[in-house]
Symmetry: C2
Subunit: 200 residues, 2 copies
Amino acid sequence: MFRSAATVDRLITLLGKLPGVGRKSAGRLAFHILKMPIEEATGLADAIREVKEKVGECQVCFNISESSPCYICSDPKRDQSVICVVEEALDVPSIEKVDSFRGLFHVLGGRLSPLDGIGPEDLSIKALLTRVNENDNIKEVIIATNPSVEGEATAVYLSKLIKPMDISVTRIARGIPVGADLEYADVVTLSQALEGRREF
Amino acid sequence: MFRSAATVDRLITLLGKLPGVGRKSAGRLAFHILKMPIEEATGLADAIREVKEKVGECQVCFNISESSPCYICSDPKRDQSVICVVEEALDVPSIEKVDSFRGLFHVLGGRLSPLDGIGPEDLSIKALLTRVNENDNIKEVIIATNPSVEGEATAVYLSKLIKPMDISVTRIARGIPVGADLEYADVVTLSQALEGRREF
């Protein structure tokens, strides 16, 4: 443990709490910050503060946003008939990259996980149901939770609640990712790829 | 590119400039910061600012420090007869972990690298020579630059300057690291391990 500068120690400790940053990389980051031009380091500190001050949640879709409703929810050119449900706000930019999707989003804020004590009331599921119920435009809900055990369970749970509202509920396809090698694909993915096969 | 929050974008861009942080991990870090308790995020921002305000260089050994001379240079219990020369301040804590070394340090601030335009005047070599020259206590200079081409060149350069002052100049040993497997050791390391062999 380096003792010469308490402020450096403190920075290393705080950086080390970030995800994917161990003690060693925290040290490297701290020394990098020490060597940075002062404006750059101050810029980073300010950016962290600002993000906490200005960014909140859209009260419609629960995506992170500086305004509520967010730019997606308030865009009239968006397809108002489709809602894509994702686990985290981090998933929205991934789907936004797909040009063919121009619908709306709904961020759950996690996934059902009884073992971690996360139940339906901990996610924005009630708000999703109200949203779907009160809005006649909505024709389809695409469930894009992760293809993990919890993500699948969440998808099934949601579909059971939304289907009775006479709305089409779909799940994004699972299969072999583009560019992957069949040889290295796991058996579950392969079996789902076979199950989801389509005619030419 | 995520467009909903300009402040988030800015934070991602700045985090992405840190070493070892790509665009994807910068996004993950930014979203983590968004989810952090406000005090924790503010603490991190303050720590970055503080480190830039309070931490400077020790004017004797060029290690990072909140005071000059630093706690190592001003500690009378340290062995004043040995100076360990390292490339970066980041190397000091590594050597500090070795209990058997309780001498002084000298941080070069890099290594000689003509291809990158780094010559002797860009490092704290002059200060080292003056320090060794003016201080009769110093009996040995241990050169602990990295075992890279540039680190070796720097070590040779320094030894040629310091040896004529009638001071013992040593280089840390290169060889097989403890716990490593001979099978996977590269031939240069192996040859240096053989060369540096010692009798039982």
